[in-house]
């Protein structure tokens, strides 16, 4: 959820998905986590040939299929929604699927998060003090992918910053996040902390800093987030 103050200017989920899609480069192998990240696939520019991996053993996963009557449980995304297999795709068992996650051939994974710290620490599986949480494939993907890209709202539903100086949530992996895509900004994790790469139109760097619980640094004029159109890709 966007910070109430900036709600009107914040990107919607579709726009966020477009921005993340634009980040993915030709010939990358990209793992798609559950939730918001699954929206990225339909927005990948047609000329970029990207191979999507789903943790449940799909290499060459296509977009989720909407509006099907008969769901085939044998071809679901990690989020358990019906998907297609692209031409040239294949199936592997779970050990081989996570071998890929840790192998070095996975160019990127797109994950949701509760918090990201300015040193790249990621929290996305357990609430503080909770007795249990859902790890799923996130720990392996975060530890193994070449680039961990996080896609999340800039603040919680209660307006609390999710970009922080030190995690207050139990970590999923340490020092792994490369870039964060929120509804307000795109930020890189650097040796000096969060670098503000892009801002949604109509906000200033200082606006973004106010809803972020870690120091940001930026060039004189960070670019506007490039979201081309609102139409479905």
């Amino acid at each position: 959820m966007a910070h109430p103050e900036f709600a009107a200017k914040a990107l919607d989920r579709d726009q966020m998905a477009r921005r993340v899609a634009a980040e993915l480069q030709s010939d990358w192998v990209v793992n798609i986590g559950i939730g918001m990240p699954t929206k990225v696939i339909p927005h990948v520019p047609a000329e970029r040939d990207i191979i999507f991996h789903s943790e449940n053993g799909i290499i060459g996963m296509g977009p989720e299929i909407d509006g099907v009557n008969e769901v085939d449980n044998d071809l679901l995304s990690a989020g358990k929604r019906p998907v297609s297999l692209n031409p040239g795709g294949s199936f592997v068992h779970h050990a081989d699927s996570f071998a890929l996650a840790r192998n070095g051939r996975l160019d990127a994974t797109i994950l949701g998060a509760y918090q990201v710290a300015s040193n790249g620490d990621l929290a996305n599986w357990k609430l503080p003090g909770a007795r249990a949480g859902n790890i799923g494939g996130a720990m392996d993907l975060a530890a193994g992918a070449r680039r961990v890209l996080v896609m999340m709202t800039h603040v919680t539903g209660k307006g609390e910053p999710k970009l922080v100086e030190r995690l207050r949530y139990p970590p999923t992996a340490l020092g792994v996040v490369r870039k964060v895509f929120t509804d307000l900004a795109v930020l890189s994790v650097t040796d000096k902390g969060f670098h503000l790469d892009e801002i949604v139109e109509g906000l200033t760097p200082e606006d973004v800093q106010r809803v972020t619980d870690a120091p940001l640094y930026w060039q004189t004029a960070p670019a506007a987030i490039r979201v081309l159109t609102r139409e479905k890709g």
């Binding site: 044998d74 679901l76 249990a132 859902n134």
Partner: protein, 222 residues
């Protein structure tokens, strides 16, 4: 030839015992041996440890096993999905134990059990709650957790095709945990959609060699 075919689902699961550690294939609703699980429920077994990615959906399958009080402990990666209502209710009142394992580590622990290894070093979980009580070893400058192999008394497997030798193929992403679980248990029970004659499966495309299969039954795809 070893007689692997059971005449009914009920007959197929007679080798599962009270107190067994049981691997159950599937991810979400894909590749779950639902008929075998239901047959185990009918047997009213007790003190099972169930190893599966999820902790049951709705009131069928693993959820029913939990609901009928067959399960002492769950090992899974994603216990608190919206659909795992039975598990969450039992867990809230301490009526079931839980071990949460990262999904790739769960797969690899099973694979190690199936490969006769004692354990492995994984980068997954270093610096997290998952590392508690585990040895950290450094290889070529990188830290790894030592995770131990997981081997089970029994496995319930969902396959697509089977022959009388027990060779298996799977269907799309329903493959998931099934092939590695079939290697990691002392007693492996399979439900398959259809049976083919020996020689009816291409030797290049058999995913689970029949030597890992103790019993199978046929449950046509609905």
């Amino acid at each position: 030839m070893k007689q692997r075919k059971a005449n009914s689902v009920a007959e197929a699961v007679t080798g599962i015992k009270n107190g067994d550690v049981v691997l159950i294939g599937g991810f979400g609703r894909g590749g779950v041996p639902e008929n075998l699980i239901e047959a185990v429920c009918e047997r009213k077994l007790r003190d099972l440890t169930i190893v599966s990615n999820n902790a049951g959906t709705g009131h069928t399958g693993i959820a029913r096993l939990l609901e009928e009080g067959c399960v002492r402990k769950m090992m899974c990666s994603f216990p608190l999905a919206a659909e795992s209502i039975v598990f969450q209710e039992l867990f809230a009142r301490d009526a079931v134990e839980l071990e949460v394992v990262p999904q790739g580590t769960l797969a690899e622990r099973i694979r190690a059990g199936g490969a006769g290894l004692g354990g492995f070093l994984t980068p997954t979980g270093v610096g997290t709650d998952i590392a508690a009580g585990k040895q950290v070893l450094t290889v070529a400058g990188r830290d790894y957790l030592l995770e131990t192999a997981l081997r089970a008394d029994a496995a319930l497997i969902k396959a697509h095709r089977v022959d009388a030798v027990g060779n298996l193929t799977y269907r799309m992403a329903a493959r998931n945990f099934n092939p590695i679980m079939a290697m990691a248990a002392d007693h492996v029970v399979v439900e398959a959609h259809e049976e083919v004659p020996i020689g009816g499966l291409d030797p290049e495309c058999i995913i689970t060699p029949g030597i890992y299969v103790d019993r199978y039954c046929i449950c046509p795809k609905p």
